[in-house]
């Protein structure tokens, strides 16, 4: 079976006046058909830029400098803008973080949906409208026919995100890149949206890249997980492996900073310090400045090693005791 998406050694750099920002620096992962990949990391870890790279939507001064993005076997890096455009929205769709900002405030919902249909298929406005209405119904928006005539500001945040999801689903894409789509919503809506996206993806065989900083979201949703730090993948593997016995001190720290019932009363563990500036990364492991296990050996670059079957980590001092 061919994978829906294979990303190999992707590097996306931003050429700013202050220097070259290596927002994504040698990232590799694969997403199988109908599978969900959780891309986890703090703000500035490069997870969103990875998502935009897959969409071909990296704006100057940023660009993909090397690596390959193989979508159903075909490398997209270096393709023309028109080739990207014909894939975007049709085969690869995206859902954004803030539903209050993603819909154009001065255009009606039907305008924004019909244009999305007609961008990829030569159909009449009437036919496109019918498709739009069905898509709204599919994501659970009541009386879709009337809602089509509304403007975005007449919807709540959760409803707007549903509209955005409906737009993403219009062409039954093979892959959806979801960039923290539930972060801006309250918890009950978040749960509904997660459940809906999951079932829709399962029904249509759509693969998902779910970008988030929220490990609890990933735990219930993803098949595989990729933990990013400062533009690099530091740990990847199946969701159960990574969450049950994290090998990288950073993953361990992330999990420790999630409040849990089992550690009630104890102070919450946190990762000290802040994400380092991507302009002045330390030599070797980027996490060494905040890592409890760091020593002189961490100043050397190391690659990913497979410490368990299917679980890779980039660390000199991994939590191997978890394996024992």
């Amino acid at each position: 079976m061919t994978e829906t998406l294979v990303v190999e050694n992707l590097a996306t750099h931003f050429f700013t006046k202050a220097g070259v920002v290596k927002a994504v620096d040698g990232v590799s992962f694969r997403v199988g058909r109908g599978k969900v990949l959780g891309l986890v990391g703090e703000s500035g870890s490069g997870k969103s830029v990875t998502g935009f790279s897959v969409m071909g939507l990296v704006d100057p001064p940023g660009r993909i400098v090397s690596g390959a993005i193989r979508f159903k076997g075909e490398n997209l890096v270096g393709k023309s803008e028109e080739a990207w455009r014909s894939l975007r929205g049709a085969r690869i769709a995206m859902i954004f973080q803030d539903p209050m900002m993603t819909l154009n405030p001065v255009l009606r919902i039907d305008t924004q949906m019909i244009e999305a249909v007609q961008a990829h298929e030569r159909v009449s406005a009437e036919e496109a409208r019918k498709r739009a209405r069905d898509a709204l119904g599919q994501v659970g928006i009541p009386s879709p026919e009337e809602r089509l005539k509304a403007y975005p500001h007449q919807f709540s945040g959760g409803m707007r995100q549903r509209v955005a999801i409906a737009i993403a689903l219009l062409h039954k894409p093979d892959l959806i890149v979801a960039d923290e789509p539930t972060t801006a919503l309250d918890v009950t809506i978040q749960g509904q949206i997660l459940a809906e996206v999951q079932s829709l993806a399962r029904d249509t065989g759509t693969s998902l890249i779910w970008i988030t900083h929220d490990l609890s979201v990933v735990a219930g949703l993803a098949d595989d997980i990729c933990v990013m730090y400062a533009g690099k993948v530091v740990e990847q593997g199946s969701v159960d492996d990574v969450l049950d016995h994290p090998l990288h001190p950073y993953t361990n720290g992330l999990l420790g900073s999630v409040p849990s019932r089992n550690r009630r009363g104890e102070p919450l563990r946190q990762i000290p310090g802040m994400t380092p500036s991507l302009l002045s990364l330390p030599q070797g492991c980027a996490f060494q400045t905040r890592c409890p296990r760091a020593d002189a050996a961490c100043r050397h670059n190391i690659g990913m090693t497979e410490l368990r079957e299917g679980q890779f980590v980039r660390c000199v001092h991994p939590h191997q005791e978890a394996l024992a």
Partner: protein
């Protein structure tokens, strides 16, 4: 909506009332028109007679009340110089000014918006930077100097366009205008360009700022993520958003173009209201000055109102607020 309209109407009335007092005081301070209108050889008695005939012998507050009483009935006084109702004199000149202002507006939209769009989409390109540098010139060069340079270049040296005056108006489809003929366009070309230059510069900067801001918005990225062509993203998604501030400013500018085309009309001897007001101030023709200023205020209020209505058409969020009030 009705409440809104009534409130606007009351505001407009108040503005007009305050303006009328200010204008009246202003022209009173400028000087005594009798000294200019009557020949210096006239006797004291003749002067008193003329003063009484024009109603200038009354105290200022009484003059104002008389003016107000007549104004309410639609009479803004008779011109001392033309011996015709002031409003009629002004309205005779109004089409020429309106023509000039509208043509200048046309250039503003035709050049300002596309150039601003280009500069906003390619802010670091040579062409984008050239446009921005040019717009600074458009802002800062004094309009009278540019007018003279235009005349020097296109009328005197090249001889392509006439330097002064307006072509004979022609009536077509019930509209009388000099723009129905090619000669009319040749005449309006230089003054309208002169008048438009500052406006074009303003619209370029406004459009560029709007585009640069809009291009960073999530809805633009989302529109691109839908697979829309760049043309549609910019032409529909970006343009519709940046038109809101542009229309507001254009409306306000149209008002000031009509009201303050004074310099341009003087340089190019364009027979419009601006030239009339300058002449009238020189001759202390009070009724014309007062009537002109009152009409200008009325016009600006009217245009502002039209802009507000247009605004609600362009921005759906404004409509909602209206129905709620």
């Amino acid at each position: 909506m009705t409440v809104y309209l009534i409130r606007r109407l009351m505001q407009a009335g108040l503005v007009l009332a305050v303006m009328s007092v200010l204008v009246f005081l202003g022209v009173f301070a400028v000087g005594d028109p009798i000294e200019i209108l009557i020949s210096p050889e006239a006797t004291q008695f003749e002067k008193e007679e003329a003063r009484r005939a024009l109603g200038l012998d009354l105290p200022l507050w009484q003059q104002y009340l008389v003016f107000l009483e007549n104004a309410v009935q639609g009479d803004l006084g008779r011109s001392f110089v033309f011996n015709m109702p002031a409003i009629q004199v002004i309205l005779m000149r109004f089409p020429a000014t309106l023509e000039l202002a509208l043509v200048a507006m046309l250039w503003t939209v035709l050049f300002g918006v596309p150039l601003g769009l280009w500069a906003g989409l390619k802010p670091n390109s040579v062409s984008g930077k050239t446009i921005m540098a040019g717009s600074i010139l458009g802002f800062s060069l004094p309009s009278f100097w540019v007018g003279l340079m235009l005349i020097m270049t296109f009328a005197v040296m090249l001889g392509w366009l006439p330097s002064t005056g307006r072509a004979e108006p022609v009536t077509m489809f019930g509209i009388t205008s000099s723009l129905w003929t090619a000669k009319g366009w040749a005449h309006v070309m230089l003054p309208s360009v002169n008048l438009a230059l500052g406006q074009i510069a303003l619209v370029i900067r406004l459009t560029r700022a709007g585009v640069r801001e809009a291009m960073l918005m999530d809805y633009v990225k989302f529109a691109r993520a839908k697979g829309l062509t760049q043309r549609r993203v910019i032409g529909v998604h970006v343009m519709k958003n940046i038109m809101i501030p542009i229309v507001t400013v254009l409306g306000l500018e149209l008002g000031s173009l009509i009201a303050f085309a004074v310099v341009t009309e003087s340089i190019f001897a364009w027979p419009g209201m601006g030239k009339l007001i300058i002449d009238s101030i020189n001759l202390l023709d009070r009724p014309i000055v007062v009537a002109y200023l009152m009409m200008t205020v009325f016009l600006v209020i009217l245009i502002n109102f039209a802009v507000d209505v247009l605004y609600s058409v362009l921005d759906p969020r404004v409509r909602l607020k209206d129905s709620g009030s």
